[in-house]
Amino acid sequence: KEDSGTKTWNVSLITMDSMDQHWVSCFEGAKDAAKELGVTVTFDSPDTKDDNKQIEKINNAVAAGKDGILLAANAQDAPVAALKEAQAAGVKIMYVDSPANFDTLRLFATDNREGGKKIGERLLQELKAQSVTSGKIGIIGVNKATESCNTREYGFRDAFEGQGYTLLETQYCDGDATRAKEIADNYIAQGCVAVYGSNEGSTVGAGNAAKEALAAGIKVIACGSDASDTNKQLIKDGALLCIMGQNPYQMGYKGVYAMVDLLNGKDLGGYQYVDTGVNVIELSNVAQF
């Protein structure tokens, strides 16, 4: 890696899977940064969330002679050994969204627990405002193994600690909006006062179910995560109270900038966690996002 100034760096972005909107946005940011910097970024995520597939993608990236890997670790421990091998082969590593238990210089991420908690607190405020002081709350998760979403869910649960509400057993929808809507319908039929979705698909489902229930005169509040167009529309429609907006674009964008700096031999100092920010998006501020 001699004449570092003129070299076109090859960076591999490996996220948890390749279909989730969140990751695609992250790649968009990375691509824009790459264009500005004149380097190449490829999106090498596995097709589904699977630790082993992610490890293979890392190994492949190393074998394919990539200079850097931007990783969103599917599980904290799983990719550690592969990352060690990668580092030994001279590949630079940084994290976006979710870190692994392996030291790198940067992590660009949202504080998911904090974000989940903020949504919970906002919901609590609204429930109190509507003078609903008890009742069941349904939670829609992605699947048991997606740590970032689970973390959000824990944050959400944190906010309701000791507040007199019953948080029901989490139901998983695999990120499928249709399945999420069915789950939300079932929650509402059980008399839930609120439904929370921990990712984009589950929030869309929760929002659609709430919208339908509200139209039928049933009072229920839906909230969730991920500021997709559809979710923002659902806020405007009055179906969603609020969503936790992250900034995956920034993760990818800043990630590539930092990576190129590192590759160009710039001194980045020690480990740094860059919070890409959480926003509680609701009707009052949705136009800004």
């Binding site: 057993e169 139901q171 499928d176 909006a177 249709t178 059980q190 659609n208 997709s228 167009d229 529309q233």
Partner: protein
């Protein structure tokens, strides 16, 4: 040569007995869930549940048609994905929803056509042919909106109202107090059940699955018949995709993931053999009901996810085992003839 009425004859026919046992199982299941949580039988949940069953019925019919011919369709889930993504993308671009649905229909049917030709024309093993189109389909679902899920389909002013009517038609609207989606599934069931039981094409589907060589020697057009089965499958999957687009109000690239297996589960629980030649659509409907009731009821029972999987697995096995036990009384281990 008794003349004891059609019902008895129908019941005595192979397959109908299994439908009967499985229906008993379904009823037992419902009662159990009702006892665990009386809200299960609430008006709201019943209509809710019916709407959840509808797409599984469609998927089940899709897979049943193909299974009856002795083949399998793994591309069902992908066609759902393509259908959702394509219709949603076109609508977000401001196309009239009915027109968008029409173009999507053409693309979806193309999958059926290709599957039929690969399997019957080129004699590819159906597992491989449809595994291929399944993967291709998923790729297409991703490429349609340039690797993004679509935004909300009702944001374009010009078509917003039409889109909302469209969404009501397929999902949110009710007719006689029952959601439209249920009526659609019912209509599809009646039409395809009729085709299967009363028309030549239906007869040929069974013949093909029972003995392809004999069917061919009797002048059955194997290519045409196989293609019909795959077209029906693609059509039903298309409907599910459109429904999902309407329900979510957006297109998701991974919509319909692994639905093909739900289709197999519903079909086989209802007595359709994966070896071809046997099975009734009404059985598939019952199978679909069991599947959906399980999902719904276990949520009402507030069961943790791991327990839920174990219970579902056991009930899938028991539902079919029941029939075998009823048939044999004591099932002799590895003794009597394999089906």
């Amino acid at each position: 040569m008794e003349k004891n009425g059609l019902l008895k004859r129908q019941l005595s026919k192979q397959g109908m007995r299994q439908v009967f046992t499985v229906t008993c199982g379904l009823i037992a299941l419902c009662i159990a869930f009702g006892i665990i949580n009386p809200l299960f039988f609430s008006q709201r949940n019943i209509s809710n549940l019916l709407r959840q069953i509808a797409p599984i019925i469609l998927i089940g019919i899709a897979q049943s048609f193909v299974l009856i011919t002795g083949n399998i369709d793994l591309s069902i889930g992908s066609v759902v994905g393509v259908s959702t993504m394509m219709s949603a993308t076109l609508m977000t671009k401001g196309m009239n929803p009915w027109l968008a649905a029409f173009f999507t229909l053409l693309v979806s049917l193309l999958f059926g056509l290709v599957n039929g030709y690969l399997v019957a024309g080129f004699k590819l093993p159906p597992f491989i042919a449809t595994l291929g189109t399944m993967t291709i389909g998923r790729g297409i679902a991703q490429i349609v909106n340039n690797n993004y899920n679509t935004g909300a389909i009702n944001t374009i002013e010009k078509t917003a109202e039409a889109v909302d009517r469209f969404r009501n038609f397929f999902y949110y609207g009710k007719f006689l107090g029952i959601y439209n989606g249920v009526w659609i599934a019912l209509a599809v069931f009646i039409v395809f059940n009729f085709i299967l039981n009363r028309t030549k094409s239906g007869r040929y589907l069974y013949a093909l699955g029972s003995n392809p060589e004999a069917a061919r020697l009797s002048g059955v057009n194997v290519l045409k018949t196989t293609t019909i089965a795959y077209l029906v499958s693609a059509f039903c999957s298309y409907l599910v995709g459109i429904t999902q687009c309407c329900s979510a109000g957006m297109g998701a690239m991974d919509a319909g993931n692994s639905y093909e297996m739900y289709g197999v589960a519903a079909s086989v629980m209802g007595g359709v053999s994966t070896l071809g030649g046997t099975g009734k659509l009404i059985g598939t409907v019952v199978g679909a009901c069991i599947w959906s009731v399980l999902q719904n009821g276990l949520q009402f029972a507030n069961a943790p996810v791991a327990i839920r999987n174990i219970v579902i697995g056991i009930i899938i096995i028991v539902a079919v085992l029941l029939d075998i036990i009823v048939r044999n009384r004591k099932p002799k281990l590895a003794d009597s003839k394999k089906q």
